[in-house]
């Protein structure tokens, strides 16, 4: 919402210099409402001065040109030749003298126009970037006490503050210049000139018949009929005030309704009375029927639902109440008689109505935030006065005023202990300061001897519901900058460890230390991606209002996203390891909310070489580092998206732990991945289950250990892991495969393994015979289980 500081000066003093104005805007943004944008109105008119046209002569050689003599406060008038048509003698105009550069870059020089020298230029508002749609020379007739020769900026300069509506979304009273002015006055500690409650004498006894059918929607409806209306251009003052806020001037009547809306905050609407049934017509305020149609002022045909409310005659809708008027009942150049409406509506129902047809207007915005019903009649009277002052029509009815809610003038009182202010803000603020702030904000304040503050709440402040709401007003106007820094004082309570978070962080550190890069992919995917990864039969939870076709489903697997990421990165690197830890979402029968489980997915990609062992190695490192208690084993094969013979389920002790496998070529093709790729997927909870919280260490023997390398040959019927597992001896400290050999002289299905056995003895040095018998026993036990194993 836009606010003009010079408009504010109607209510309270605004500083003179532009620097002080910017300083005010800065304080405003911190203590009243954030500002999206500040516009320095008139900044392009820096060198322009005020001139007065003293004489206009025709040009002998050109019909379209006029010779003007301009008083710019210098000894002699200057002569300017112009093609403008809207000039008159005595008119005050902006003058660009020789040497002045206009906003469009043009520098004024002395010119000869068909033989007559011209020493400057008269400017239009467009040329001065004050407005977009005025071609004629700017008429400064509206400026009081204007002096020739003065800089134009003296009269025009303004700051337009575009306020962030979100910050004041609970402050309907601030959607007006009078409301904002009160806050500025409190901030500056300047006097606030309260809006005058005008009285009006009405002689007509004619009534307007208003029937409010939706009493929960319309809180108050006032209106008046004005006859013999003269539709014309608005007075300059009003036109200019609206233009500064970026509002286009339409005609005097429409401009008055807009002016009052921005000034007081009460939206008004003017109907062409003759287009809505003339005198004696009945106005209905009612809910729309589904499918009802109306063409609105923006010339769009709107199809309505029961969420919309209407102003209607007995046979047709004439406005979407509080949102936009109807096109067919609009005020135009032929209008003779009008009905002016000033009403208040239910904020929630207005929001619903305007949302339903996706139409937000300056009026609906104010109604959504709440318009105080006490303003309704005051605004109407203001409109009548402005029409009268402009000689634009005559009162032709009494003011109709229908109120459907009780006690609109009732003010609530809130009482709380003065100590609360200090307790919430954290510093002591003097009582008289608190009182002054609250009173400036229009609260009536009593502070009792036992330190109880009683505050009477004005009707426009329905946001004040409890003490903290008032403490907020005290705090922000007092200024949070005045709060000094201190050290917090509170009991020390030992932090609770979040095992899930801690484990996730440790896993990330380990994998990254092993060369993995953590990625973060979107939690939403689409079915197409699931299909590409051949995961189309897993559970799907849909977003009912997605904003893109690519992100429609909560993912139940991280694999499709990681495949996509591999695909996009392969052009920049020949090999890499990626991983992600994120939630997957699964339907859970009988539960209100889906199940969320953190999963770890690790993938290795290599353009040329095998990747399986890079991933497997990382899993082993994670196990050792965290550490996990127990043994990892690999069993069975997996289905899609894995490649059957190069994949396995991972078991931890006897339990399922996760999957690992190379990705099936068909899926690699679907994702355009050229190269080897291995993926492992492990639910993080499976890892947490085996965390060893107090890992133990053993002493080492002081006697020499014995290393024996066992060379064996196995065929494909036996896995190396199972051989290792079958080796046991009480003195065995470790058993590791140190070499794997394939090729001649071994048969194709054979593999040679070197297993290094390390024996350790705490009692004394081993005797050679002891070791021999141990080795023999080990060989025997292997052969007993796996007769095909050969020893070399």
């Amino acid at each position: 919402m836009k606010i003009s500081l010079s408009w504010i000066s109607k209510y309270t003093k605004i500083p003179n210099t532009i620097k002080e104005k910017y300083d005010l805007a800065d304080k405003f943004a911190r203590q009243i409402a954030d500002i999206d944008e500040i516009t320095h109105y008139g900044e392009h008119t820096k060198d322009i001065v005020v001139g007065k046209i003293m004489k206009i002569q025709n040009h002998n050689n050109a019909d379209k040109l006029k010779i003007t003599h301009i008083d710019i406060g210098e000894k002699e008038y200057i002569q300017i030749v112009t093609g403008a048509t809207n000039i008159y003698e005595g008119m005050h105009v902006p003058v660009a003298k020789i040497g002045v550069t206009l906003p469009n870059g043009l520098t004024i020089e002395k010119r000869d126009l068909r033989g007559i020298p011209s020493y400057g230029m008269l400017c239009s508002e467009k040329e001065l970037m004050l407005s977009n749609d005025h071609e004629g020379i700017m008429d400064l007739g509206d400026i009081k006490d204007i002096k020739v020769g003065e800089y134009l900026l003296t009269y025009l300069e303004d700051l337009i503050l575009d306020i962030d509506n979100k910050v004041i979304s609970n402050r309907g009273d601030l959607f007006s210049h009078e409301g904002i002015a009160r806050e500025i006055a409190a901030l500056q500690k300047t006097e606030y000139i309260k809006p005058e409650i005008k009285k009006i004498k009405i002689e007509s006894e004619k009534n307007i018949d208003v029937k409010i059918e939706s009493k929960n929607f319309c809180f108050r409806y006032t209106g008046i009929i004005i006859k013999n209306v003269k539709i014309k251009e608005s007075p300059l003052k009003i036109k200019r005030a609206l233009e500064r806020l970026g509002v286009q001037s339409i005609n005097n009547i429409v401009d008055i309704t807009n002016y009052i809306m921005f000034d007081i905050g009460q939206p008004l609407h003017a109907f062409d009375l003759d287009k809505i049934g003339g005198e004696g017509t009945t106005i209905f305020v009612r809910q729309a029927m589904g499918g009802e149609k109306i063409k609105t002022l923006d010339q769009k045909e709107r199809i309505l639902s029961q969420d919309n409310y209407l102003i209607a005659t007995k046979d047709k809708p004439i406005a979407i109440a509080g949102v936009m008027g109807g096109y067919d009942s609009r005020v135009d150049e032929n209008t003779k008689n009008i009905l002016i409406e000033s009403a208040t509506f239910n904020p929630k129902l207005i929001r619903k109505s305007s949302k339903g047809i996706n139409l937000r207007t300056d009026a609906s915005l104010r109604y959504e935030k709440r318009v105080d019903p006490n303003k309704t009649k005051r605004a109407l009277i203001e409109a009548i006065k402005m029409i009268q002052n402009d000689n634009a029509g005559e009162i032709a009815s009494d003011i109709v005023d229908v109120i459907t809610i009780k006690d609109i003038t009732k003010r609530d009182t809130l009482s709380f202990s003065f100590d609360r202010v200090e307790k919430v803000i954290g510093i002591k603020i003097e009582k008289k300061v608190v009182r002054d702030i609250l009173e400036r904000l229009n609260f009536e304040v009593k502070i009792s001897k036992d330190n109880i503050i009683s505050v009477k709440i004005p009707t426009e402040r329905d946001d004040i519901k409890e003490d903290v709401d008032l403490i907020e007003d005290i705090g922000r106007i007092y200024g949070y900058d005045k709060i000094p820094l201190k050290n917090p004082v509170y009991e020390i309570i030992p932090r609770k460890e979040d095992i899930l978070y801690k484990t996730k962080q440790s896993i990330k550190t380990i994998i990254s230390a092993c060369g993995g890069y953590e990625i973060k992919t979107y939690s939403f995917i689409n079915e197409d991606l699931l299909k590409k990864a051949m995961l189309d039969n897993i559970s799907k939870i849909k977003i009912i209002n997605p904003n893109s076709e690519d992100y429609t489903t909560l993912r139940s697997s991280l694999i499709p996203s990681i495949l996509k990421t591999v695909s996009t990165n392969q052009k920049n690197a020949d090999s890499f390891i990626l991983y992600e830890i994120a939630n997957v979402y699964k339907e859970s029968k009988g539960e209100e909310l889906p199940r969320e489980e953190y999963e770890l997915v690790i993938t290795a990609y290599n353009k040329k070489s095998e990747t399986f062992f890079s991933v497997k190695n990382i899993i082993e490192v994670i196990k050792e580092y965290l550490p996990l208690k127990g043994e990892i084993s690999y069993q069975d094969f997996l289905k899609m998206p894995y490649l059957k013979n190069k994949s396995a389920k991972i078991y931890f002790n006897e339990d399922y732990f996760g999957d690992i496998g190379n990705i099936h070529p068909e899926i690699r093709e679907n994702f355009n991945i050229n190269g080897n790729i291995t993926i492992s997927r492990i639910p993080v909870n499976n890892i947490i289950k085996y965390l060893e919280l107090f890992p133990k260490i053993k002493p080492i023997s002081k006697y020499p250990e014995i290393k024996i390398d066992l060379n064996i040959t196995i065929d494909n019927s036996v896995s190396s892991k199972s051989i290792i597992e079958s080796i046991y001896d009480e003195n065995l400290r470790s058993k590791n495969i140190v070499d794997v050999y394939k090729g001649k002289p071994l048969e194709e299905n054979q593999t040679g393994l070197t297993i290094r056995l390390v024996f350790e003895n705490f009692e004394g040095t081993f005797k050679t015979e002891d070791i021999h018998s141990k080795i023999n026993k080990i060989k025997e036990s292997i052969n007993k289980k796996y007769p095909n194993v050969l020893f070399r």
């Binding site: 409890e466 020390i492 973060k520 939690s523 939403f524 990165n569």
Partner: protein, 346 residues
């Protein structure tokens, strides 16, 4: 005797020849052990001395000792020579130490992970415990309990994704964690949480439909706005490792806090002088905060007459973007390794 002397001379010459023809330390050590060991010729001659008498025994003995001494000296000298020549050889070898012959082995955690870790670490100094909680929420936890009734504008369809209309939704902010925590725990409460949030917004350089938030909450007997300002100032100074940062509380509106603030910090890139990043204001908007609304406390059965406190939240991406002058939030979720691999700190 003549024989023995000759044999000694011969053995000595043999030894000295062997030593001088030796060209590396390993063979020198072998030779040395041969000539010093029990198998050496000199040792054998020595064993025969016992058969001799008097002067003869003395003479031969001294001859042997002399020879041994000579050999030892030559050995020592030779060893010295060979060592030096080996040092010199190794020293003369050229190694281009600027090359990287092996693949770099270090990966990295995601920048957002790193920033969250930093935030969590800093707030843990103030006794804030990390909590993890749900991403998919009910309307009550995400909105109603936070004082956003059914008609609140923030709940409008353009902001929130729904899984079940007006009921089940991916959280739009981490503030739902406040509610989940306060329902379970009794004050004093000090928590910090971070995670994914979702908004139904179109993607552009400044908006992503998914992003991260961190959220802090402290509830105790006497926590005031002064504490909010002080704790957050100290914490941000630590996060940015810059003691010159000051905070500015700007009045704002959130339904779940009262009073509410947007918090600006001194721009750490220009120290408040004004630069491109802070739009020449000298201040950067970093987080939202406020005193927890009494209605929110009542909603979770905490007595607002006894307890009060503050909550704050912000985006880790924004902190990284400011620190690194990045202006496109999409970079964080496009997962281009050329971007992600830059920040190594694990």
């Amino acid at each position: 005797m003549q024989n023995l002397t000759e044999e000694i001379l011969k053995a000595t010459k043999e030894a000295l020849d062997d030593i001088s023809s030796c060209s590396d330390i390993q063979s020198l050590r072998k030779i040395s052990s041969v000539y010093k060991g029990k198998e050496s010729k000199l040792y054998k001659i020595l064993t025969e001395i016992s058969k001799l008498q008097g002067d003869e025994k003395k003479f031969i003995g001294s001859c042997i000792n002399e020879s041994k001494e000579k050999i030892d000296n030559v050995l020592l000298q030779k060893e010295q020579e060979l060592k030096i020549s080996e040092y010199e050889k190794e020293e003369s070898e050229y190694l281009d130490i600027t090359l990287n012959k092996e693949d770099k082995k270090l990966g990295s955690t995601h920048p957002v992970t790193q920033m969250i870790q930093k935030i969590v670490d800093v707030f843990s100094l103030y006794g804030f415990s990390h909590v993890t909680d749900r991403e998919i929420e009910t309307d009550w936890f995400c909105f109603q309990a936070l004082n956003m009734d059914v008609d609140h504008p923030a709940r409008e369809m353009q902001d929130t994704f729904y899984i079940e209309e007006n009921h089940i939704l991916p959280r739009t902010h981490t503030s739902s964690v406040q509610i989940r925590t306060m329902i379970k725990a009794k004050p004093p409460i000090r928590i910090i949480s971070a995670g994914r949030v979702y908004r139904n917004e179109n993607q552009d350089a400044r908006h992503s439909f998914m992003f991260y938030q961190y959220e802090g909450l402290i509830i105790d007997n006497n926590i005031s706005i002064a504490d909010l300002k002080s704790i957050l100032t100290q914490a941000l100074r630590k996060i940015f490792e810059n003691d010159k940062i000051d905070l500015r509380l700007r009045h704002s509106y959130f339904p779940y806090t009262e009073p509410s603030f947007e918090i600006d910090a001194t721009c750490m890139l220009c120290q408040g002088k004004g630069c491109k990043v802070c739009d020449f204001k000298g201040w950067l908007e970093l987080l939202g905060a406020g005193m927890v609304h009494p209605q929110v406390l009542r909603n979770v059965k905490i007595d607002p007459k006894k307890y009060q406190g503050f909550a704050f939240g912000g985006g880790p991406e924004r902190l990284i973007m400011i620190k690194n002058e990045i202006n496109d939030t999409r970079l964080f979720y496009e997962n281009d390794l050329r971007f992600l691999s830059q920040l190594k700190k694990l």
